[in-house]
């Protein structure tokens, strides 16, 4: 599976939860999602879309703990490669 990038994450979040106050990207990789403007439900909605698009299963707890784009991307890419293995 090709890597799930920060651009991919930004796109999915926009589809799932609308435009954020802060753009999801390089400058906000370590910014808390709450500050970016996405709450827990927005992230769950995005996680559901990512699971369906990539055909992977994300662990509930780790998604809950991924509070920044960098952490979230790590969870998706780790799970993606684990599922591919």
């Amino acid at each position: 599976m090709s890597e799930f990038t920060v651009e991919d994450l930004g796109r999915v979040l926009r589809e799932a939860a609308g435009e954020s106050e802060v753009a999801v990207g390089g400058d906000s990789l370590d910014t808390d999602f709450a500050e970016i403007g996405y709450d827990s439900i927005a992230l769950l909605e995005a996680a559901g879309r990512i699971e369906r698009q990539l055909g992977i299963q994300l662990d509930d707890e780790t998604v809950g703990e991924a509070t920044t784009p960098r952490l979230f991307l790590a969870v998706v890419n780790r799970q993606g490669s684990a599922d591919a293995a």
Partner: protein, 418 residues
């Protein structure tokens, strides 16, 4: 405030047994009624556990037409209202129908019926322009949950104010809170009030799956509802109804009715925070508790038992633990707290009324129901949650609370009537 509002009749239809007696026995014995979902094949879903009722509407006096017309939630409400009315000793003939009102709480109304009929008119989800030719004549009654209040009014002969209260998971508390205001203000003689929800359908299970609010402890269904336990990971969906006959204290005394308890205080607040999330400090629930206690003219030290919302989500149990400490101070550590959702699951809007029933019965029998499945409390939940076994103790004043989607926080104080 004019009159004092008291409960003189109780009906309960809950998982684990039908009728108030079976319900109370389940709680007193600390048994659980959660199981693998049997209403449909739960295999495709993340959470496959629920607290279901083995309910045969025909055995409870509903005719074929009524069964066809009513969603399961309405059926439960009607059967339960009949028990409450019989328990109160009131006969329909004793009442001026114009002076009898109805409030029914429900969070999701006729969801089972809607889920089922949508499949039919959409040809299994294929049609966007769903086909009216396949619609059942009572589809409108599923469309509007106000049909629940209609059915209860018809079945009890009530012709006073009738409405449904639908504030999500606090509906059952708020419906009874609404009813006591009408009794206090003297707008009615008697209210038939309570709540009903029958949400165990694929759409409800799927939507709670999507937000991971329900437990995925599918391999151990009997022990899946674990409020306040460190291993809890979501609530167990339930169904049920509790209904009450509520009237003024003078009226109840005049007719020599058995009085379970006075509903002495009630308040509700919004958290204005999040549709599903809770502020960790429990500020708004604490405010609702304090205002309900003010109305009841009760001090924290008077509270003998706290009937918690205790849904068993990580977030809720800490939130309300914080709210109890904030509103009751040191007494929060002394008053026993328990969640009956550990035994009967979380029936959304209905559970608030079912918990009022448990609170009134705790006063009646001087017995605090336990929190089942509580073995290793979450260190952040550090109150006395009455693990596993019911506790015999003098119980005169009970605080019961609810918290729900939309941010609603409600609290009610029940008190024995000397």
């Amino acid at each position: 405030m004019g009159h004092r509002a008291v409960i003189t009749g109780i009906g309960v239809t809950a998982p684990g047994g039908i009728g108030t007696k079976a319900f109370w026995n389940l709680l007193a014995e600390g048994r659980t009624a959660t199981r693998t979902i049997s209403f449909f094949d739960p295999a495709p879903f993340r959470s496959r556990v629920a607290a279901e009722i083995d309910f045969d509407p025909e055995a409870h006096g509903l005719g074929p037409q009524e069964i066809r017309r009513m969603d399961r939630g309405a059926q439960l409400a009607v059967v339960t209202a009949a028990e409450a009315l019989a328990d109160s000793g009131l006969e329909q003939g004793d009442l001026d129908p114009h002076r009898v009102g109805v409030t029914v709480g429900t969070a999701v109304g006729a969801t089972m019926g809607l889920d089922q009929e949508y499949r039919v008119v959409s040809d299994g989800g294929r049609l966007d322009l769903v086909d009216h030719a396949y619609a059942v004549p009572h589809l409108y009654d599923y469309f509007v949950p106000s049909s629940f209040a209609k059915e209860v009014a018809w079945s009890t002969g009530a012709e006073g104010p009738a409405t449904v209260v639908s504030t999500g998971c606090t509906s059952g508390l708020d419906a009874v809170g609404h009813a006591i205001e009408l009794v206090r203000d003297g707008e009615v003689d008697v209210m038939i009030a309570g709540a009903s929800d029958a949400p165990i359908s694929p759409i409800t299970v799927a939507c709670f799956d999507a937000i991971k609010a329900t437990t995925a402890r599918n391999d151990d269904p009997e022990h899946a509802s674990r409020p306040f336990d460190g291993s809890r990971n979501g609530f167990v969906l339930g169904e049920g109804s509790a209904m009450f006959v509520i009237e003024s204290l003078e009226r109840a005394r005049r007719r020599g009715a058995h009085i379970y308890a006075e509903i002495a205080g009630f308040a509700t607040r919004c958290n204005a925070f999040h549709m599903t999330g809770l502020r960790p400090d429990g500020r708004e629930m604490a405010e609702a508790i304090s205002r309900a206690m003010d109305e009841a003219r009760t001090d924290p030290a008077d509270v003998d038992y706290i009937n918690a919302h205790g849904s068993g989500t990580k977030q809720n149990d800490r939130h309300e633990t914080a709210a109890f400490k904030r509103s009751l101070g040191e007494h929060a550590y002394r008053a026993p707290v328990s969640s009956i959702k550990s035994m009967v699951g979380h029936s959304l809007g209905a559970i608030g009324s079912i918990e009022i029933a448990a609170s009134a019965l705790a006063i009646e029998y001087d017995l605090v129901p336990p929190t089942a499945n509580l073995h290793t409390p979450d260190p952040e939940c550090d109150l006395d949650y009455v693990p596993l076994t019911a506790r015999e103790q003098r119980t005169d004043t009970v605080l019961t609370v609810g918290s729900g989607f939309g941010g609603f926080q409600s609290a009610m104080v029940l008190r024995s009537v000397a």
